[in-house]
Symmetry: none
DNA sequence: CATGAATGAGGTTTCATTCAT
DNA sequence: TATGAATGAAACCTCATTCAT
């Protein structure tokens, strides 16, 4: 099921030439800009192309359809976040819980808030049904990374690791998303990492089965 | 600002006759069904009317435009959830934290999972820009209820009540949403209340300033 | 041809009861008001009924369709103007040209400017194709009246009476309409009768074949 | 004020390629044809496009909405007439009244009757409210041209030039319009210039203040 | 007779996508 | 390869008219 969709959404040609790479990038950038300024509703391929400084025809040389463009943009973003979490996890093997949480939360929040408006804009895109799979994949990737890290914790052992990883991730995502979507004031955003630390660390310690 | 938007989304006539009431209800129901089966993308006023068993014209007698229909459906849902939380909060004044969390989490999860598919469908709707305000309002309502309850806790005192309420709510919303959107297996859904209890209670105790 | 149309546009029932008469009148009045405030474009039978304080259903008891309403309104107006011209003409038989023109011009302008905005609104209605016939009829009626008067002029004899009547009428109508449609300032409207006197009298004297 | 309206009615893109020019022209032509055969009432963008041999989409690439198409058609026509009058006026500076009237009347009637049916069709369009401004502009343009000419008359001097120009124009427009709208027989149309000569010249001579 | 909810054909407009240049 | 004019299916919404109450 997912494969059929996936195929239809893959970029049309793997850009090898420098020019092509530029085009692909410029289209993604234009999409995000328009998403931010006008929202999904107003996002048309023509406008994306226009903003990107290429013709619609050219856009369609690199993406088979509009969904593919959105798919690419979202994928790029989810990738960055997933990688941030994976990197954080990879570096914390064997450490005590407190350090794990600290570093992972920091990595996640930083990745999500690096471009606040991009994140905000993409929540809209993600709601576009076909992307559910993509979001799910990124979630799975991050939960796996978290689980692989948690299993090595110096000071903890978890009975139901999948559930714990799930809750850990969701506990980070929930408040972060709430702040981004709710346009929280900077004061709250600044406090976010600390709050997530408290939230997640206490949860994990409480779930510690040792 | 919000008022202009609000006006354009208000139902056109408040149905008084029995026949009209049925119509309004039937349209909401049809919208949810279609949202579930085909998603926002495929949701057209014609199809909603068709499924509802009325003509498009009739639909437009009660709602000035498509957005208004979605607005109404979402509002109804958010109302139910907000009321559930408010009710739970109202009943726990003066109780110790443990009981508060237990009851509130239970109320929230029950409201959200009463109609799992409806909740799921509406995340998509909420992403439709104009509803942001509505979601924000529901959030504010629930945070207020939580704050008003927490301030009376028998065994706790909080320094930054707004932040604590925000995190409390977001900590419930995050994992719940993750499960609903990710189509989590029943086994996980069953475990959700317990997990949220652990997550929220430990957070609140840790933030306790007494 | 005209008869078929005519039949479809006739009021449905000749109102004999007092109540009915009121309804018919109130609908005409409402139509004119809406025409003035919002123009043809926005004129719907529902709105007319609403403004008239009756239900759409009732409106359709007296008029077979929307066109018939407009037809009635226009007819009433054209009738008033035609009657004014006919009356003026009838009273001037045997008089010299100067007096004829004076009285006819006065009668015409007065009828047209009695309710300036009504006249203005009805130009729009008249443009609605099926009314062309009605306008033509009124024109014919007035030209006949003018011809019948002119033929008795004490001091003139006309070779081509139809043409002269045609021009006489058109010479009155042209500037009057230009002023009404162009929203001419009162100063110009006040001067209109005098100007038409000059225009028409000189024309007629010049066409005098004696 | 008028600018807002004007903007919404301006053509969308100025056609540069040969293909585009053809399209724009073909749409205007189709509009006039349909106006003539079926009247405003039946004029739909779909039908215009169909008759023009292009798709609706193409039509909307050049005109932002239906009104804009009508606007363009009317503008073109009014332009032609205005230019004819201006040209006639420009050529008669310093001439005696008789010649002025002769040439101007001839120019006006010729422009209006060059395509009798087009003129006829456009009276309907002009009644469509938003065009009022356009008609008013054309009127002002022609009255200005007339005034500028009359002020140079070799044998006349006018006290109230604006009023005289207004009446002069309206005296030409009235009968011409009456004939076109009333579908006057060719015999009358042929006689029109002469009649207008008599009508206007006598009026002007009578208003001569020297 | 009056009401006004319901109807649905039909109008306007958009926009993803193609393809001749 | 890039372009952007053309396409036309399909979306939204209105409103004249009917008919059950």
């Amino acid at each position: 099921m997912g494969h059929v969709i996936a195929k239809a959404l893959q970029p049309r040609k793997t850009p090898v030439q420098a020019r092509s790479l530029v085009t692909v990038d410029v289209v993604c950038e234009a999409t995000i800009q328009l998403l931010l300024s006008d929202g999904m509703r107003q996002l048309t391929t023509t406008r994306v192309a226009e903003r990107a400084g290429v013709s619609v025809g050219t856009l369609y040389q690199y993406y088979p359809n509009k969904q593919a463009v959105l798919y690419a943009v979202l994928q790029r973003h989810l990738n960055q976040v997933s990688e941030a979490v994976e990197a954080a996890c990879a570096g914390q093997c064997g450490k005590p819980l407190r350090e794990m949480v600290e570093v992972v939360v920091h990595g996640f929040v930083e990745a999500k808030t690096a471009r606040v408006d991009e994140s905000r804009a993409l929540y809209e895109v993600a709601a576009d049904l076909n992307a559910a799979e993509l979001v799910a994949d990124a979630g799975k990737r991050m939960r796996t990374a978290l689980a692989n890290m948690l299993v090595t914790a110096a000071d903890a052992r978890f009975v139901d690791l999948p559930m714990v990883s799930f809750m850990f991730l969701a506990a980070m995502v929930g408040p972060t998303r709430a702040m981004l979507e709710g346009a929280a004031p900077p004061r709250m955003l600044d406090a976010l990492p600390n709050q997530l630390n408290v939230l997640c660390l206490n949860y994990l310690q409480s779930m510690n089965g040792t």
